[in-house]
Symmetry: C2
Subunit: 301 residues, 2 copies
């Protein structure tokens, strides 16, 4: 599982920092999470092939999380995309995009499929044989969802050495991979677990931005491997965080601890701070395994 942070600063694009956008590679899917202005340029900079992105998940309709989407959609048309593109986001996103395409008489040549969200309960919104995606309702100034991405348990891996020791013919290997046990010529049954290795433990990633500090969040992201939790402010601006429905680094750490996640990634920093190192220091007092997102940074989990 690999996370590439295209942008992780709050509010406005600046010369050296970008608003929110992330690429998550998970079990052979490549999804785009949020799409602030300039995202398509950051994708080019990081050599992400636009055509590999089939699903985009938008948390909420503040500009710093979706003003790059109309341009991204238009560019895919100019690049000759033919595959469908799925847009998951709050109700209203379809009306906005359709209006912009209509005004420019720039309809896409590829199917543009909207999956609009309006529920305040967590929903399973995508599932295939590799991953599931569920919403994480968040409490922000406008309707907002985080997203929880979970790998499905993969197939068990064939232990070739063990199979050969039992003298099992290659013709049976596919059966073994599919979980079957094998009966030898002498009648002995070799259980599948003796012929296979456990599959890799499925990974999970929770994206939670933007949100006020909300302790009930922890129960919804229990034991995830990686939590990206916004930390717009430091604790010295806790009042401002509450007022604007954002969180502090310390609050993000409390959620991470309570949810028993493995790794906390902080981001969505207010640009008022000269250095982001303080965010890590503050969070680490409460939750030790904390990483700082930064524009252009890639994390392998």
């Amino acid at each position: 599982m690999r996370l590439t942070v295209l942008g992780c600063y709050a509010a406005t694009p600046r010369t050296l920092t970008n608003p929110t956008a992330q690429i998550l590679e998970i079990n052979n899917h490549i999804v785009l999470i949020d799409c602030g202005e300039g995202t398509q340029v950051e994708l080019r900079r990081h050599k992400v092939k636009f055509s590999r992105i089939n699903h985009i998940f938008i948390s909420h309709l503040h500009g710093d999380h979706f003003f790059g989407l109309p341009g991204f959609i238009s560019t895919m048309r100019l690049l000759g995309r033919e595959k469908a593109l799925h847009i998951h986001g709050p109700k209203g996103i379809k009306e906005a995009i359709i209006l912009l395409l209509k005004l420019g008489d720039s309809w896409t040549n590829y199917p543009l499929l909207f999956h609009e969200l309006s529920s305040k309960e967590s929903e399973l919104i995508f599932e295939d044989n590799k991953i599931t995606v569920t919403t994480i309702p968040l409490d922000h100034r406008i309707y907002t969802n985080g997203y929880l991405f979970r790998e499905k348990v993969g197939k068990r891996k064939l232990n070739i050495e063990a199979a050969e020791d039992y003298g099992i013919d290659k013709a049976y290997f596919n059966n073994i991979k599919n979980g079957k046990s094998i009966t030898l010529d002498n009648g002995e049954v070799i259980s599948n677990s003796k012929l296979t290795f456990d599959p890799p433990k499925p990974k999970s990633y929770a994206f939670c931005s933007d949100t006020v500090f909300d302790e009930t969040l922890a129960s919804r992201i229990k034991d995830v491997d990686v939590l990206y939790h916004e930390s717009t402010f430091l604790e010295s601006e806790a009042d401002l965080a509450t007022k604007t429905k954002h969180s502090t680094a310390q609050q993000a750490a409390k959620i991470a601890k309570e949810a028993n996640v493995k790794t906390l990634v902080l981001g969505h920093y207010s640009t008022r701070y000269k250095s982001i190192a303080l965010f890590k220091e503050e969070a680490a007092l409460i939750f030790p395994n904390v990483l700082l997102a930064d524009d252009g940074k890639t994390f392998d989990f």
Copy 2:
């Protein structure tokens, strides 16, 4: 008169090139012409004070000319703008911006005033004591206007030396600046032209992008000082230019010649070409005084 090119490439933002946006400084006005994605970052890069921009002129509603506008408007709110901001552009622009602000519940704290255009005839759309702005209807795939900016003739400048030679008291200097002649104590009338210098010749700038080659354009921009004319293609792609309602460098030069402009500035280059130098070579065969726009370039006229 100073032109700063923030972006002048066609179609999509890329790592090293930006879509259309320009800052024109003319007679103490600073206006923004078009606003492709990323414009606000380019403004920061060139240290243009956002607050000095009171008028934005949008040529048409293709994304590469206006997808940066919603973010620019939002950022002005975050920066605490209070002054009114005037948006001039095709009908529909208001609906689009208002919808985006509504979805984000991000109404501006400053007055946002839309001046929507739908006429196919040239119109005077702005006038004060310094400049006039008229539309230049263009023929593109969707409703499009160029804009013609003209300085007004300034006041004559006081010739202090001449006034002192005639023994005229300082108390009369304002009258002289305002065009009055002076009667000396001996009854001699000194005409204003003897006491003043001619004001600087007013300058003019015509922005014409995007447009197909249209010879009737020349009559509408006759004798302007500076013509920015799109040249998406070279003559080798003339068919493609006609089909997509764009122009070639040679066609832009023909318009410049026919209109008798002083200087032609080329831009809106397709990104298919490795170097933009060929655009200048091609145009210069027909019209010698040609300049190449490029991102970040500033021209003083």
